[in-house]
């Protein structure tokens, strides 16, 4: 499966079932997650990074100075589909 780091935009193809946050493919993450504990959401950006952008609130890909928590990524899904059989009440033709 393919992933992209939101901070540096580098792309990686990882084996199936790999937790992409457990693997380094760029140097944007500190996998120990030890800057603000185990949960990045525990960071108080106002106190820890005054005037800077931070992971918290969600979706912020830019890591502020002094922050080592893992950066958000993009998961690129790929799927093959088949037509499902018509069946009343389950999504068949009406």
């Amino acid at each position: 499966m393919q992933y992209m780091c939101k901070q540096c935009l580098s792309v990686a193809n990882l084996p199936p079932e790999t937790d992409p946050h457990s693997v380094d493919w760029c140097n944007c993450c500190d996998r120990s997650h030890d800057h603000h504990g185990s949960d990045a959401a525990a960071c108080n950006p106002e106190a820890n990074h005054p005037g800077e952008l931070c992971w918290n609130p969600p979706g912020q890909p830019i890591r502020p100075s002094g922050c080592g928590v893992c950066r958000p990524i993009i998961h690129f899904g790929v799927a093959g589909t088949q037509l499902v059989a018509a069946q009343a009440g389950l999504g068949g033709l009406k």
Binding site: T18, H21, T81, L83, G92, K94
Partner: protein, 145 residues
Amino acid sequence: MTDTGRIANVFNFWFAGGSAVSTPTTPFKLRLMTAMGSGNGNVAGSNGTELTSATGYTAGGSSLGSSPTFSTFSSASPAAVTNSNAVSWSAGSTWTTVVGIEIWDSTGTPARYLQGTTTSSITGVVNGDTVQFAAGSISANPSAW
């Protein structure tokens, strides 16, 4: 394998006085599934389990965009076609692993049309991540029906 369930409805409408086959209401919606249902080919099946308790994902799925949903099917040379528009979600929490997708229409009582597994489960989605199906990433191969 031909899906005889849907084809039978069309043939009954044409030749046997069956009810008119209604046009699906667009846009089609892409749903993320944590467990697959059944119903491929000739097998009348059941819906899968949709992703829940996932901030950033809305039950019922997200639009696959304005028509056409897929590239044009060819009767002369059946081959897989793919989605025309990208769909993405911004995760605001940790998500359960996604193992597949379903594609539904937008009627008042939505109908399921397509389902399939992802080539790899979408796992490890956390707050701040984006889950995206790019244009061309969802295939539908009528020659396999």
